[in-house]
Symmetry: C2
Subunit: 417 residues, 2 copies
């Protein structure tokens, strides 16, 4: 137990543009991502080599009225009649798809598989999307009392603030940082910095001849209720990831065949997954996610590396507080010190521990079933030195951390170039 029967490598990774695309279906987004991933394979990859597909998807059932998406996606990317399995772990749906794909190859059943994620969320009105997402809570207890995810994460945030003294400023710093990164990502839904948003707003107010508040920096701007309304205190609009359409695709190969596709694969040296009770009231402590601690413990152990060895990580920042807790659960910082680390700039692109260089879910967008796979796309680019203007120099060891719900599911993976 706990050791893969054979090594696994990522040999290609790509994604669709993330955003709101009223004219595209989920299947079209998947095709866009699949082509992008195929184009990323150095020596090319033929569909005849791809033996199976895994699809992370939270709920096209609700979002598009389309269940049984697996064979549909396989058909649209040209893989019929090969096996395709959809996996679901709420917003960790493609994180667990990655683990399923790893097991498929390690098991000996397959040599090359496609791991994908897709969500088409913007067909529904926003309020219905929030309700659909709330299906990932414990609906026997949480939803009936009016708790949707912004409220649940706000509860987590206030608990973290009370226990550790985490501040509003620290939350906002996460959003500022991730937008700074996303600005440099052409696939991001909101490639814009908070400073730019502030300047735009100032220009707008001037144009209208209205009074311009005396914001000395983005932090001031983010406390302005007109610019950044409260969603669920202490979380404001720019503490929350957006509603997004998008897809992402990864090709996995057994180590012994990986060289056929590329000389610089990413070796998946660690995989971990854990669970915890979906309902917050069932947990001993809501300032940490047990599933994430279990997943990272397993992944580190398999990889034989420590948190301090990780050079670049994509973590699940569905809300700003989630990134703070993620960096603690992963052992990057001690419990209660994730906020301080963000405030000190340790997690910026040029900091000691760059987090969410892609822009994270916050700026890049959060098509829930695709987010885990899209994290791998960023690590693929970073470790291969292909991340362009947002490249962190010389990184060779990366990590992805993908959470479902308020932590009911978590998948962690570690990659080495």
């Amino acid at each position: 137990m706990g050791k893969l029967a054979r090594g696994i490598a990522v040999v290609g990774a790509g994604m669709s543009k993330f955003g709101a695309f009223p004219d595209k279906t989920g299947r079209e987004l998947m095709v866009e991502a699949y082509i992008d991933a195929r184009n990323s394979v150095d020596n090319g990859i033929d569909n005849k080599d791809v033996e199976a597909m895994f699809l992370g998807n939270f709920s096209s059932d609700i979002f598009e009225g389309q269940g049984h998406n697996g064979p549909l996606m396989a058909d649209w990317v040209g893989l019929t009649p090969k096996p395709v399995t959809r996996t679901e772990g709420a917003c960790a749906s493609s994180g667990v798809a990655l683990r399923a794909g790893i097991m498929a190859v390690a098991s000996g059943l397959h040599d090359v598989v496609c791991v994908s994620g897709m969500e088409k969320m913007t067909d529904l009105p926003t309020a219905r999307v929030t309700d659909a997402l709330a299906a990932a809570s414990d609906v026997s207890y949480e939803l009936p009392v009016g708790a949707t995810f912004p409220g649940l994460y706000a509860t987590i945030a206030t608990a973290h603030m009370k226990k550790y003294g985490t501040t509003i400023k620290q939350l906002r710093m996460i959003g500022i940082k991730n937008h700074n990164n996303g600005k440099l990502n052409s696939k991001a839904q909101f490639p814009v910095t908070i400073r730019e948003l502030m300047e735009k707003r100032i220009a707008k107010l001037k144009e209208k001849g209205e009074a311009v508040p005396s914001w000395k920096d983005e932090l001031d701007f983010l406390e302005d209720p007109q610019s950044n309304p409260v969603v669920a205190w202490p979380l404001r609009l720019y503490d929350c990831s957006p509603i997004t359409d998008g897809a992402a695709v990864i090709f996995l190969a057994a180590e012994e065949v990986a060289k056929k596709y590329t000389d610089t694969p990413l070796h998946i040296i660690g995989t971990g997954q854990g669970s915890v009770q979906p309902a917050l009231h069932d947990r001993a402590d809501i300032t940490t996610i047990l599933a994430a601690r279990e997943a990272s413990k397993e992944a580190y152990k398999m990889a034989g590396v420590k948190p301090e060895d990780i050079q670049v990580a994509e973590v699940h920042d569905c809300f700003t507080i989630a990134e703070i807790i993620a960096t603690e659960d992963l052992g990057f910082f001690k419990p209660g010190e994730g906020g301080k680390a963000a405030e000190e700039g340790i997690t910026t692109r040029d900091g000691e521990k760059p987090i969410n260089t892609s822009g994270g879910l916050k700026s890049k967008g959060h098509p829930v079933g695709a987010s885990g796979a899209a994290q791998v796309v960023e690590i693929w680019k970073q470790l291969r030195g292909e991340a362009g203007p947002r490249q962190v120099p010389g990184v060779e060891l990366g990590l992805t951390h993908n959470v479902g719900g308020t932590g009911g599911t978590c998948a962690v993976h570690i990659y080495r170039r």
Copy 2:
């Protein structure tokens, strides 16, 4: 490729009662199945040994308003914080969960896992259940023109009748046979024979002083529109599987640890999975399911056995025509000869090729996400000689065939005692 890195055995299998349970939630049904499965393990199994859970579920999202069921189920059976992954392939959701579980153990990541399936369908009104199931068709094309599953399978049936001369009588014989089997299954939703239904109806008519039609046998009774109304011609009520609540659980172990749990495990000697376009209009031939042919080809090859070697099989009889096509796709009978075989009694319990001794989906019930796992429960009982009054004597080689939608997904597994 195509060979498991290590052998896998079933060491326990159990299920909840199938039926309509307005007072139970999906999580309660899962607990019932889990306890039944634990009780089936000869030497007992402790939760600390169970390293991960796989959950087949089509759409609790729609049926119960509960997404992200994995961690909920893991919690209710006491497996938190272990990894749990939901898989979905429409009505083949737990067939593909079984394959995911096999890969998890063969990969070396786990030694013992729990594979489960659950669906709680009866909370919604029947019409909404039919709509929910229709989400497993291609909703861009099939649903908007009014096609739900009875209509789609009726289309398949008429095509099969036209191409091969399959008869109404042959369809009805499947229903009669499966109810004869289900009568002997205490877990079945409708443990009643068609003959008993006929006698009940005759008694009722006499009681009311109404004229009793001159039915000479069940076949006559089944053509009576009052007793057996047309759902979508040629399919009548007793050609259709019911709407069901239920759950089923299987424990898988690596061969080298299986003996800890039982001296008579079932060895999984073959696994196969395939896909095809969900929309009927996209397929070259709708009288056969390509996904099933691909899945069975892979499973037979791995197992090193031929269709004629299989001694007992549970196949996906969501509609009577589906069983006929299944027995052809599996190679038990030549294309077009499945109906004739049923008519000749070859697939009855004491026939040459007993099919659906459990009562099949038709009589046992069809909680869609649980049906694939429940098929394994029957094979577990048959191959171990524990099937009681419905035991087929001396069987050692069995097969399960689980289909999603009109065939978009199919998983086939082969077991040897």
